[in-house]
């Protein structure tokens, strides 16, 4: 992973929509979870049709305004179905 990137993991239907399990995304100062999600949707239009997606940062659900910095692990989490 580039030291100016965060790592993004895709799970379940989001993996199929993104066509991959993992990607590194460059970060810039001031980048938020919301910004990152818009960038991902712009790059992978199939992500736009997913409903109920939440993003997690470093294994915790994140809020839209949470900052994203280099080396953060971000996960794209569509509605879960465990149990």
């Amino acid at each position: 992973m580039n030291e100016k990137s965060c790592r993004v993991l895709f799970f379940g239907p989001a993996r199929e929509a993104a066509g991959r399990e993992v990607m590194d995304v460059p970060v810039r100062p001031g980048l938020t979870i919301s910004d990152l999600w818009k960038t991902l949707q712009a790059d992978h239009s199939d992500l736009q049709s997913l409903r109920g997606v939440r993003l997690a940062k470093n294994h915790v659900y994140a809020a839209d305004h949470d900052p994203v910095v280099a080396s953060d692990e971000i996960a794209v989490i569509p509605p879960v179905s465990g149990g």
Binding site: F11, H59, G82
Partner: protein, 125 residues
């Protein structure tokens, strides 16, 4: 409260209760793969987990629920990979002083798990 959380590919064996003399109620829930899903026969369910977060979420949820439903000990095992029909995909055991606390904890835990723990299933036909 003691919390034990495990995600494993191996079949689930429910461990015996601890014999804690303060635990008057031991309740175990096993979620078993059914032969029909959405009206169609299936062979198995395949489960995938974001493991480190799934473990952390289960621990967090257990801790939160314990503030309302006091229990002495809880253990959860969630299976991943292919789980054939008739086998358990999850087992949760709760030990509490009284049964109301154990049932309250367990039903709330399952509701929260199904909402928040990053695990996904798909049907195997």
């Amino acid at each position: 409260m003691t919390t034990e959380v495990q995600i494993q590919a191996a079949p689930i064996t429910v461990p015996p209760a601890t014999g804690d003399p303060g635990a008057g109620a031991v309740v175990t829930f096993e979620g078993v793969v059914r032969g029909m899903e959405n009206g169609q026969p299936i062979r198995a369910l395949h489960y995938e987990a974001y493991e480190p977060m799934a473990e952390r979420e289960m621990e967090r949820i257990a801790g939160e629920i314990a503030m309302e439903h006091a229990v002495r000990r809880m253990a959860v095992i969630h299976r991943i990979g292919e789980v054939p029909v008739g086998e358990a995909s999850i087992a949760v055991r709760v030990e509490a002083a009284h049964r109301a606390e154990a049932f309250g904890f367990l039903t709330t835990f399952m509701d929260r798990l199904k909402r928040d723990v990053p695990i996904w299933k798909r049907e195997v036909r």
